[in-house]
């Protein structure tokens, strides 16, 4: 049992985007699509401090990921052994509910395979070597490891303090990618790329309108027919009786 996570030290990161290319080389994502991204922010004035940082992001493999319930066929699920959110490509029909539901925008529909694609912490490489982005990060800003095992390097890094998660009061799906660095940088990121809960209209209709209606409807018809049946039995109506 393990829960893999990552720590990204924004103070160390220089925004050189090596992680993006290493990931693309490893998983051959199509042209302008990346599983991990580096979005430069600034230089911009935050309170009385100048900030020039980059939002290094990917799938946060959240504890209660909003993308999992958003997927109708449950193609995406949080793997219990490793805590990594994976996708079962047989079940994925490429509808993109999960793409909208992800507060960090970590998913995209691959135009070639027409199915969803996301970072899976280099799941096939797990165990042998670190994910491609962690290995190539020239300033070792990215650290990957098992959060549950207390004396792993990543747990020590987190316990050093000054560690934040990109989450707000309203939207906090429990991400497992932690960010270290100056508070102003985290604020700049949250200001520019706030995690927002946004569901697609059809998904909302389905979960808020249709689902209760169906359950209600099914219940009603069941009870209705039951009542009608009982009503009919105690009537003792004979078969083919004709009143006229």
């Amino acid at each position: 049992m393990a829960k893999y996570g990552m720590v990204i030290d924004l103070d160390r990161c220089v925004g050189c985007q090596a992680c993006m290319v290493a990931c693309k080389a490893q998983w051959q994502t199509p042209e302008d699509y990346f599983r991990t991204w580096v979005k430069h922010i600034g230089p911009v004035q935050i309170k009385d401090e100048m900030v020039f940082t980059s939002y290094v992001g990917q799938c946060n493999h959240c504890d209660n990921p909003p993308c999992v319930p958003a997927c109708p066929t449950q193609a995406t699920f949080k793997d219990t052994e490793t805590g990594i959110v994976l996708v079962d490509y047989d079940l994925c029909i490429g509808c993109g509910y999960c793409v909208e539901a992800c507060p960090y925008g970590a998913r995209f529909i691959n135009p070639v395979t027409k199915k969803v694609e996301k970072c899976d912490f280099c799941y096939p490489r797990l165990g042998e070597e670190d994910p491609a982005c962690v290995k190539t990060c020239i300033v070792s800003a990215k650290v990957f490891g098992d959060l549950e095992n207390k004396d792993s390097y990543i747990s020590k890094k987190i316990s050093e303090g000054n560690t934040y998660i990109i989450a707000t009061k309203e939207v906090n799906p429990g991400p497992n990618v932690y960010y270290k660095g100056r508070r102003s940088k985290i604020e700049a990121i949250i200001k520019n790329y706030p995690p927002e809960k946004k569901d697609t209209l059809p998904a909302k209709i389905w979960s808020n309108v249709l689902r209760p209606f169906v359950i209600l409807g099914a219940g009603a018809t069941f009870i209705g027919s039951l009542v009608a049946f009982l009503f009919q039995i105690n009537q003792g109506e004979k078969e083919g009786e004709d009143e006229e």
Partner: protein
């Protein structure tokens, strides 16, 4: 209907008798295996060296059945280890690029509009050799010039020196680090080194003037720099009119007025001497001309400096105190691209002097010394008689041959033939129109490259060079390192098409030129085995050990038992430069004011993008997707008053009326109002490059005014001023009075509990920073 005996069938049958005469059966292409088990399944790890830029990081090629899958860092390499940057990761796209040069091409059309015919290597080399011998006979060997860049051009340069011409320009001399190395030669007798010889990891304080580490990615340097600043908490002072990425990580950011850096450095030197914060014992033992220096700089006071550099005097004093306290573990970073405003060699000398008086030379945390060892190899002796510099060096005593002076020589018919080796001379040298004019006067032009860039448009013969993933190269001895080592580039995959490695080109050419004594080795492997035999190993053994041979280094003074003799005329660090005084130049750097942008204009500055090596990687699909075009940094206040919004497209007009391509605006408070900044290497003019053509702004066209450095003739380019043109209307830059400033980073409050994370977090133990 059924299938009638069609005419085709009839003919087919009749041909049977004729048999398959004259058909090449390509049987060499495929190999038969039992189905499903063709070739090896496992992935080989082949160590080699990257060349996406010239930093030469160690890489591992993951190869399966002779085809490259992925590139990763080589953990055995002491510098970058398993780390490689964005360009290193995308090397595979250069290897399998369909637009690559594939065969030797002969231009049978006009210059500029080439009509190419593929010819064999034999024929191409014969033609080149023929021409070279002809020109040597008629006009002398020096009528052949070479413009080159990158490690693969070293054998060609050696050949030409053996052939008799030294008209060889190395783009990086006059465009990039030429004056930095000359300044260090004059002061310490040796250049600053590449990688720069700075012991960052042990430094307590680092001074960084103008270098944008992080946006300019040299992997091992950035890795050690960040480890020093973030890991070891060294104090970092960044002096840059723009809030660069590294400025964001520094303790002090000094938005200095462009062109006044020398004033700041000399003020620091003066303050440190007056308050004898300098390392007295070191100065007495190892420096020369301290008194003359003390006398020279005595009126550079912080008050004076505040007016000139617009940096608060308190900050200047605080910095001087900081460096005084932390000496000798102080790194005064030499920088790399240093041709800025015109008097740049003196500025770098001032830096060297500041480091010397703080005793940060040959000491932990400061500069250290290179350790070279002798390697045998196939010699190609230099047969240049005498040193009559071909360029008029009366004005510039320490000038090596530069692109500028080759252009001049060609224009007045002294040069008949150019060999352009791996350098996009139209993209990297200012005033490209002049370069094209010179080319059109040439009789013969040869271009050796891996991609058809602009120069190949004008070439008579184009030779395809193998990319770094397909060739051997001369052994690279990384002497500028505390843990010096020798690393070997070997082909990760077999060369594609008919591209050849540089040694093949040069050794074949030397045979045809009848140069018996130049590169007698048959192949590069023999050369390497010969070289490696002098350190008791050979290619096979080295590859098994991961392609890196490490040897003992002597980086610091105490490695020499304290009596180290600097290779300068006086045997000491020359604060007062004897060579300069001989050539009646200022022996001690002086501050000379630089022309300010006139009212309504702003200074155009440029720098590197982390994902591109200038224009070389423009056509790389992956890198292009990361950073397709450059944008123009402009000060928030200035933009507001000019009515410009972030993300708008505007054009620039420079003082000579040249108008640029459209460029996207990046409005930010992180740059001075009298200056704009952009990334170099975009907006390629060569239509060859499918992706990069006309993407972003080709800012080299705007750089028409250049000033040559008085000492070594380097081209200073940050002296061009621009105006903004929006929808045809010219908009002037406002004059915003800049109060003296200087920012100090506030210490971060120690927060135990994570701000918004539900988990409570444990205490804070001292953490041993990972190297």
């Amino acid at each position: 209907m059924g299938k009638p005996i069609s005419r085709r069938e009839f003919f087919k049958r009749s041909l049977l008798g004729a048999g398959a005469i004259g058909v090449t059966d390509y049987s060499y292409v495929f190999k038969k295996f039992p189905p499903g088990k063709a070739g090896r399944e496992d992935v080989e790890l082949i160590p080699s060296i990257c060349e996406m830029c010239f930093w030469k990081c160690g890489i591992i090629g993951k190869v399966k059945n002779g085809r490259l899958l992925k590139i990763e860092g080589n953990p055995r390499n002491p510098h970058n280890g398993e780390k490689i940057c964005a360009r290193g990761n995308s090397g595979i796209m250069q290897l399998y690029d369909p637009d690559r040069l594939k065969y030797p091409l002969l231009n049978v059309g006009k210059r500029g509009e080439p009509k190419w015919k593929r010819i064999s290597w034999k024929e191409a080399l014969n033609r080149i050799a023929e021409r070279m011998l002809e020109y040597k006979k008629k006009y002398g060997a020096r009528s052949i010039a070479n413009l080159s860049h990158g490690s693969s051009s070293i054998p060609m340069r050696k050949l030409l020196k053996n052939f008799g011409t030294d008209r060889i320009a190395h783009a990086s001399f006059d465009q990039c680090r030429g004056n930095r190395d000359v300044a260090f030669e004059l002061t310490f007798g040796m250049g600053a080194g590449s990688p720069e010889r700075v012991d960052l990891i042990n430094a307590k304080a680092i001074l960084l003037i103008g270098s944008h580490i992080g946006e300019n990615v040299h992997t091992s340097l950035v890795k050690e720099f960040i480890e020093a600043v973030e890991g070891r908490k060294a104090k970092l002072v960044t002096v840059d009119p723009r809030f660069s990425m590294i400025a964001g990580k520094s303790d002090y950011w000094l938005p200095i007025k462009p062109g006044t850096d020398t004033a700041l450095i000399l003020t620091l030197i003066n303050y440190i001497i007056q308050h004898n914060l300098y390392d007295r014992e070191f100065v007495n033992n190892y420096t020369y001309g301290f008194d003359k220096l003390k006398e020279e700089v005595k009126n550079y006071t912080p008050e004076w400096a505040e007016k000139i550099t617009e940096i608060k005097k308190e900050i200047i004093i605080e910095i001087a105190e900081l460096f005084g306290r932390s000496k000798p573990a102080v790194t005064i970073f030499p920088g790399r691209q240093s041709t800025w405003y015109g008097n740049d060699t003196q500025r770098v000398r001032a830096l060297a002097i500041l480091a010397s008086i703080l005793g940060a030379v040959g000491r932990r945390g400061g500069y250290f010394f290179p350790t070279k060892i002798k390697l045998k190899g196939c010699p190609c002796p230099n047969k240049i008689e005498g040193e009559d510099f071909l360029c008029d060096t009366s004005e510039y005593p320490f000038m090596e041959t530069t692109t500028e002076c080759i252009r001049e020589a060609t224009l007045n018919d002294e040069v008949k033939m150019w060999i352009v080796y791996g350098s996009n001379i139209i993209h990297n040298t200012p005033n490209p129109q002049k370069t094209i004019k010179a080319i059109n006067k040439l009789d013969f032009m040869v271009v050796v490259d891996i991609k058809p860039t602009e120069p190949s448009l004008y070439a008579d013969i184009v030779l395809p060079e193998a990319t770094y993933l397909e060739r051997y190269d001369i052994p690279f001895m990384v002497a500028d390192s505390r843990t010096p080592f020798i690393q070997i580039r070997r082909p990760v995959v077999q060369p594609l098409y008919e591209s050849k490695d540089p040694f093949y080109i040069v050794s074949e050419l030397s045979k045809r030129l009848g140069l018996k004594d130049c590169f007698p080795c048959e192949t590069m492997e023999d050369y390497l085995n010969l070289a490696l035999s002098s350190i008791g190993t050979n290619l096979r053994k080295l590859e098994k050990e991961g392609g890196v041979y490490r040897y003992e280094g002597k980086p610091f003074l105490d490695d020499f038992g304290g009596n180290y003799r600097f290779p300068t005329p006086t045997g000491k660090i020359e604060l007062y430069s004897t060579k300069l005084s001989l050539n009646d130049k200022d022996p001690i750097p002086k501050y000379e004011p630089v022309e300010d942008p006139p009212k309504g204009w702003a200074r155009l500055s440029y720098g590197r993008s982390p994902v591109h090596t200038f224009s070389r990687t423009e056509n790389n699909k992956w890198l292009h997707a990361l950073n397709p075009e450059n944008d123009l940094w402009i000060n928030e206040e200035a933009a507001k008053s000019m009515g410009l919004k972030d993300g708008e497209y505007v054009r620039l007009k420079n003082q000579d009326g040249v108008v640029s391509d459209p460029v996207k605006l990046k409005v930010t408070p992180g740059i001075r109002p009298d200056m704009v900044h952009t990334y170099h290497g975009f907006g390629s003019q060569s239509p060859f490059l499918r992706l990069a053509y006309k993407k972003g702004m080709f800012e080299n066209a705007l750089i028409t005014k250049i000033v040559l450095d008085p000492i070594m003739g380097g081209m200073a380019k940050r002296i061009n001023f621009v105006k903004i043109i929006k929808d045809g209307k010219e908009i002037d830059f406002p004059v915003i009075k800049q109060k003296p400033s200087g920012f100090k980073k506030k210490p971060e409050k120690e927060i135990k509990i994570k701000l918004t994370a539900p988990l409570p977090v444990g205490g804070h133990e001292e953490e041993e920073g990972g190297c």
